[in-house]
């Protein structure tokens, strides 16, 4: 993995790989723990697929945010944009000229419009990203309540068939209590997730744009001296983020089939948390796009675990906060252990991570 990216210095690259590996290990441990403690529910494949089925929108949003976070910015408007898209699509589908393709175009258009507006203001006018995307959040929420206040349940036949469309995997499944075989089901949103992960990961790994993003996030000054168009790079990251927010809105309404004010509320916080667990730093320059879906899944597995344990809902928030605390501290401790030479030898050999060994060899 170390030789893929030649622009960035080696140590930084292994940093993002290290964080990615930590995220992956944590996810596997988490799921293993879930399997051991609640074998009844987590052993079923459907539970695993439901993580994707029900949270496809969040994972898509996380991907776009990851690119923005790698370039060193932040976008907190994505949740509200997602909500706006669901409501606008529901309005369009319920009106007389409703059309699924039109709704999809509308979703993409809203997402790109927000991305272009915010990206232009942040990249070319050099305004602080937090404030502009905060304004974007207010704008999206305001537009959402302006166009419609009450929940809309979409009843258009073409859309309902799309909503209920499922891909059945006949060879995977579980026996229910009566002994009937129930095959696993996948919603079309999952395919969108997989396609976007592959597409964006390839974009970040092998395209010029992806390398520019890492370079700008690492140090925009030196990136500019290398001849990278910093402003355009930042601009396009926000456009991509807006686009993924639009797609996630469409996937959201494809899953639930209703437009509501509360749709996508506080998703931006969840997305930031998943990216942090997935090993993307808010400072920029460090991160792996594949880490963000893993981070999102870790967060979701935590929630599922707590729900399965039957804890009170207030405890649920506290426990997920505590687990987030543990991850953050673990990440930071591992990073600092790596940075300090004197601590390198203190690690027992079975704790040494592959990325670390490589760095040691180079020195």
């Amino acid at each position: 993995m170390g030789s893929m990216n030649t622009i960035k210095p080696k140590t930084r690259l292994s940093n993002s790989n290290l964080l990615f590996i930590i995220a992956g290990v944590i996810f596997v441990l988490m799921y293993g723990f879930a399997l051991i403690s609640f074998p009844g529910s987590f052993m079923q494949f459907q539970t695993f697929f439901d993580l994707f089925n029900l949270n496809a929108a969040l994972i898509i949003m996380t991907l776009g945010l990851c690119i923005v976070m790698i370039v060193g910015g932040i976008d907190i408007s994505i949740g509200a944009v997602c909500g706006l898209v669901t409501m606008a699509c529901a309005m369009l589908l319920e009106s007389k000229m409703g059309n699924v393709w039109g709704a999809l175009l509308l979703a993409l258009g809203i997402g790109i419009a927000f991305g272009v507006l915010q990206g232009y203001l942040i990249a070319y006018l050099e305004i602080q990203p937090f404030i502009i995307t905060l304004a974007g959040l207010f704008l999206a929420q305001g537009l959402l309540t302006t166009i419609h206040k009450d929940p809309i349940n979409v009843t258009m036949p073409a859309f309902v068939s799309l909503r209920d469309f499922k891909i059945v995997i006949p060879w995977l499944g579980t026996q229910n209590r009566l002994g009937n075989f129930i095959p696993c089901e996948i919603k079309p949103g999952v395919i969108v997730v997989v396609a976007l992960v592959v597409l964006l990961a390839a974009l970040m790994k092998w395209s010029r744009f992806g390398r520019n993003v890492y370079a700008v996030g690492g140090n925009s000054q030196s990136a500019m001296m290398l001849g990278i168009n910093v402003k355009r790079t930042i601009f396009f990251t926000y456009v991509i983020c807006g686009l993924t927010a639009g797609i996630s809105g469409f996937v959201f309404i494809m899953t639930t089939g209703a437009g509501n004010i509360g749709n996508g509320a506080l998703f931006e916080i969840k997305a930031i948390a998943s990216n942090v667990i997935g090993g993307t730093l808010l400072n920029g320059g460090v991160g792996n796009l594949l880490g963000s879906p893993i981070g999102a899944l870790t967060l979701l597995v935590i929630n599922e675990l707590i729900r399965a344990a039957g804890v009170q809902s207030n405890f649920q928030a506290i426990v997920s906060g505590l687990l987030l605390y543990l991850f953050i501290v673990l990440q930071s401790v591992v990073m600092s252990l790596r940075d300090r030479r004197k601590f390198k030898l203190a690690l027992p050999p079975w704790l040494r991570l592959p990325g670390k060994k490589k760095a040691g060899n180079q020195e």
Binding site: L125, Q128, Q141, L282, V319
Partner: protein, 382 residues
Amino acid sequence: MQRLKAQLYQLSYLFLPLSVLVLLIVINLIKGADYFSITMVKGAFYGEIPNILFGASELVILSIGMTLVTAASQGQDIGIGASATITSAVFVLFVLNAGAVNLWTIVLTIVAGFLLSCMAGLVVGAFNGILVSVFKVQPMVATLILFMGGRSIAFMIDGKVSPILANPISNQIGTVINFTINNSKYVVPIQTPIILTAIFIVIVAVVLKKTNLRLYVESVGINPSAARLNGINPKKIIFLTFLIMGVCTAVAGFIAVNKAGRHDSVNLLKFIMMDAILAVAIGGNALSGGKFSITGSIIGAYTIEMLNRTLLRLEVEPAMIKAFKAVFIIILMVIASPVVRVFAKKVLYKAQTIVAGVTVRKTGGPNNAVVSDTDTSGKKEE
């Protein structure tokens, strides 16, 4: 002359918040000339301006803390609403469990409860501060933990849904103090949250004036490693700013819970972190740390409250208020953005040189004076 220039330079920091404030006042005056009118109701002042001061009191206090945190740690605390909920939950728990009946014992329990909530605020601040300073987590991520779990902790402290503060003293802290001496009633004409906010601002101003806090925070915010080489421990300073933030959340929570008269752990100060960060930005502070201006943040906080009330006064539909606010913020930030500023400076400079050239041609005198004139004006613009 030098002194005047220095003062002008200081004022240029406040250019953005002050111009926004003036703009809002003008809009309000166009809507109705009775904007500044103040009426006396039961011996206390009410009106648009007192309402703004009253409504923005928590926001002002939190934005002061946010300014310090932003300046030192180059990031923002997004968990302040939840922190304030926790501290005020401690306060409410103490006051309700003390069961004081007598007037003076109630006052004592409220003071003790306030001090206790300040302790809780220090604990919360220490929690965030250790994460940020020792573990080097970005502030926004570190405070995400309390943002996620804080309100639930507050609910557990409460033990039930929204306990009610039904004693007369908290009611007076929330509204207006009135007392009787020798059978004659006296009323403090200004609402109590305004007084508390003013006291807090004065304390902060004195602390900043008398201690080296400003210098240390700014040097840490500009370059932590350079500060460390100069003998300032950045960890300690960042930790200290988070402790101050904790005290600020305690004071803000105290005011908010007394205003509401009940402790609603779900909705108390719900989206205040956005407004507080916005206040810091409108105040002309960089969100990437470094130099800060508390005055700017305070004016920014009052501006936000004024903007909210202006939109209400202009009878904008409640559903559209947020969109209007967003458009206003975007326009504001575009005007204040570095690129537009540089462009405006260039245009000004060109205009001045053209004017100067015309005058020189007319008078035919030496252009030394003209050059020095443009120079000074250029500096003022910065």
